[in-house]
């Protein structure tokens, strides 16, 4: 269905090819998962299939890519639109209409389908993806999972043979991600659509894959999923657990791991204590925030303690970002009291703010306004009155591979996060607020990020991380706050929180329940 024949692609202003000599064949009706480090060229490989590379991006493509027999060199993305459906990382960015139904019809309109065919296909797709109750809803009132399902539906209505998905679950909460993955699995099984999907969160998807395409240093290999999981740093927890225990074959799903873990579950487990923190540094008392008619926070009481990492979890739209904004002082509460030490955060400005609060937004590049890493670091040194070079030195402690003359926007997701932290931590703040920091980070990136936060917590910082990533929380978290519909439903230490509900259980916990084990390292001590 998809054939790469000796394909090499080089960006216009770069001498080194992104991928070279790719020879792959993906059979019809299979799901192929593309894995690789951040920036390894996963998106480039995906976009070669829909023709965006090289028609939209520019650059030089040598070799031949054929999709359903069509050569992508002579067919532009719009000519391939009937054969390849594409869903990007952020579905919101690709919506061209107002409502669900119109969005589903858009591709068919462009391709000139007959009106009665369009009508039928839209109805079928609404049923297939469970979107019928949402058909008249404006797109911006949908949750993240719903938006992603609409985007998949919109790619499907024109009846493509191939579906290309670039990190379809990276922005979603666990429930939304499962909803989307179930929909994809159904398409592969029922409609025999060929799916090519890139994803960092392998723990969610590797069990669905027929093949894994691994990209490393520009080389692509088509592998059997089990074989692809061996011998590199990109392994979901269940695979790492299997390898650590020497299980054969290495399990890819919780289900198969549980069968092999019968013996292990009989062991006794002395749960190591996580940090309990010291004094309270920030208080959110009886705080209510409303946007229009909808309550974003309802009478929330939360206290942050120094020397502790608190994970803030909950569905998309549950109020996580609002709680962070209230603590950062960018949103004044409608009722209630918010204090960081004795200060009301909405009144803090300039250096006084930086000494109390460090904030890293979802997209760290919002913080950057100069054209080089060095420029950002120098600006911070000037603002804070520190020795020239201190911010750059802090950055070097986090990552040593950043070229100071690079443009901040050209950095990888992990490097941007490191730069944002190096800047924002200049004045040794009391609390650090991070909104979804690990989007786009691969496993090694997350390990590095976890160690930065650990160092900060050891130094007495109070850290609040809003995240959907259960596996990350299992490794670095001390305490978990779960919000639902603007209310605190759980505020407990990480072990209690993550072992009490299957939706928030990390993979290792699912394998070893009822033992309260959260991470592979803890499992190794059994």
């Amino acid at each position: 269905m998809i054939r790469f024949a000796d394909v090499t692609f080089t960006h216009a202003q770069s001498g080194r090819p992104v991928v070279s000599n790719v020879d792959l064949t993906i059979p019809e009706g299979d799901l192929a998962l593309v894995i690789g480090r951040t920036g390894s060229g996963k998106s480039t490989l995906l976009n070669m299939v829909n023709g965006l590379v090289p028609h939209f991006t520019g650059g030089t493509l040598r070799g031949e890519v054929r999709v359903n027999g069509m050569d992508t060199r002579t067919n532009a993305p719009r000519d391939l639109a009937g054969i390849v459906g594409t869903v990007g990382q952020n579905p919101r960015a690709g919506f061209t209409t107002d409502t669900v139904e119109e969005e589903l019809a858009y591709t068919m309109e462009s391709l000139g389908f007959a009106p009665d065919t369009m009508r039928r296909r839209v109805e079928e797709t609404l049923d297939l993806l469970g979107l019928a109750p949402l058909r008249h809803r404006p797109l911006d009132t949908l949750s993240g999972g719903e938006q992603q399902r609409v985007a998949i539906g919109a790619a499907l209505t024109a009846g493509p043979a191939v579906l290309v998905l670039d990190e379809p679950t990276s922005a979603l909460d666990p429930a939304g991600a499962e909803e989307v993955l179930a929909a994809i699995a159904r398409l592969v099984h029922d409609l025999a659509i060929t799916v090519l999907m890139a994803e960092h969160r392998l723990e969610r998807v590797v069990e669905f894959a027929d093949h894994v395409i691994r990209i490393e240093d520009g080389h692509c290999e088509l592998l059997d999923p089990a074989a692809a999981m061996v011998g590199h740093g990109l392994q979901p927890p269940v695979v790492r657990l299997g390898q650590a225990m020497g299980w054969e074959p290495v399990p890819l799903s919780v289900r198969s791991a549980r069968r092999q873990a019968v013996q292990l579950r009989t062991a006794t487990f002395e749960a190591p204590a996580r940090r309990t923190g010291h004094d309270g540094v920030a208080t959110v008392a009886n705080t209510t925030v409303t946007y229009g008619h909808t309550g974003a926070l309802r009478a929330v009481d939360v206290q942050l303690r120094s020397g502790q990492i608190t994970a803030l979890m909950g569905r998309n739209g549950a109020g996580k970002s609002t709680l962070i904004n209230v603590l950062a002082g960018t949103r004044a509460p409608d009722r209630g009291r918010v204090r960081v030490h004795e200060d009301d955060p909405t009144t803090l400005r300039g250096q006084a703010l930086l000494r109390r609060i460090a904030y890293v937004p979802q997209d760290p590049s919002d913080l950057f306004y100069t054209d080089s890493v060095r420029g950002e670091c120098d600006a911070t040194d000037r603002d804070t009155g520190q020795e020239p070079g201190s911010a750059l030195a802090r950055l070097r402690q986090l990552v040593d591979t950043v070229d100071p003359d690079n443009h901040p926007r050209d950095l990888s997701a992990g490097q941007q996060l490191a730069l944002a932290l190096a800047i924002q931590l200049a004045s040794a703040p009391d609390i650090v607020l991070l909104d979804e920091p690990t989007r786009g980070l691969d496993y090694p990136g997350k390990v590095a990020f976890g160690s930065w936060l650990n160092r900060l917590a050891e130094a007495g910082c109070s850290i609040l991380v809003a995240t959907h990533d259960v596996e990350l929380v299992a490794v670095i978290g001390d305490r978990v706050i779960v919000l639902a519909d603007g209310e605190v439903v759980t505020d407990a230490d990480v072990r209690t929180a993550l072992t009490s509900s299957p939706a928030f259980a990390p993979q290792v916990q699912k394998v070893l329940a009822p033992l309260p084990v959260l991470t592979v390292e803890e499992a190794c001590s059994l």
Binding site: G51, L52, F56, A76, P77, R78, D79, A81, G82, T86, G88, N90, A93, G94, F95, T96, D98, E101, E102, A105, Y106, T107, M108, E109, S110, L111, G112, A114, P115, M118, R119, H136, R137, P138, T141, L142, A154, A155, T294, N325, A328, T330, R349, G350, L353, L354, I357, A358, Y359, P361, D363, S365, D366, L367, F368, Y369, D383, T384, R409, I423
Partner: protein, 350 residues
Amino acid sequence: MTNRWLHPGAWWLWALGLGAAATRTANPLLLGLIVAVAALVVSSRRPQAQWAGAFAVFVRIAVLVVVIRVGFTVLFGLRVGTTDLFTLPSATLPDWMAGVTLGGAVTAEMLAIAVIQGSQLATLLICVGAANSLASPVRLLKALPPGLYHVGVAGVVALSLAPRIMVNVRRVMQARRMRGRPTRGLRAAAESSVPVLESSLDDAINLAAAMDTRGYGRATRTSPGERALQAGLVLAGLMGIALGLFAVLGASGWGWLLLALGLAMAITGILVAGRRIVRTRYRPDPWGWPETLTAATGISAAIAVIAVSSSTITIPLTWPALPPVAVAAILAAALPAVLTPPPPVPWRTA
């Protein structure tokens, strides 16, 4: 009547009819009646959507227009009529500004002319505002003939990117504050423009890529000659329409001919262009009797007012008469407030 969207073209014909009537009458009573009718229909058939707030914005602009017009008359107006109200100190201007008076006597006639002429433009603006808040701009662009498809898409993209840019601005300003930098002043605006523009450009590029993979702009091949013919026809036609409108509003006789000719050329050009677009439309808004009624009431208001009312202001001032034909036609334009299907109810948000 079940809730549905009225065809956006019907609302625009209705509003432009009322607007045309406003530009062709100097009768303040009729102008006031037109504004009242527009406000009534907007208040009863406005959907709950973000763009439906356009009416209030246009009303404010309209008030501003009248105020500015009167202000200019008081300051720079030439003396007309004999009923002096008050006298402003007048300044002697240098020779090179001869012909401009500053200050001086202000008469009731001058003020009346200023208010009426300002109100004509203001009423037209209010009618356009009514159309803007009754008809969804996206649905209007969709209803464009296929030949104008590319223009329509450009409009849709602009409409969907504008709110995202506002979101980007807010986000970046928040981030600036959290970096401990000032959020007001020129410097803040200059520095934050970089991340705002970069993220907005990213949004635009992502949208363009998404549209490309979804078949946007797929066209059958045409010869360069055919494309030149079509572009020439549309351009010449649009110029004809513009000149014709200008002449009609200025009440010249040959304006109607030019307008008709321009319209014919533009429509031919659009039809020629439409032949090479392979696009179809999903569930287009139907044109039923409520649409016909709405468009007809607007157009007949224009015809009636143009037929019986005059756009010249007579001196000395007299209390305006109320021509019954014009009044009836304008009042009929309020019928859509009750005889059209109401817009779909707002969606419940989760």
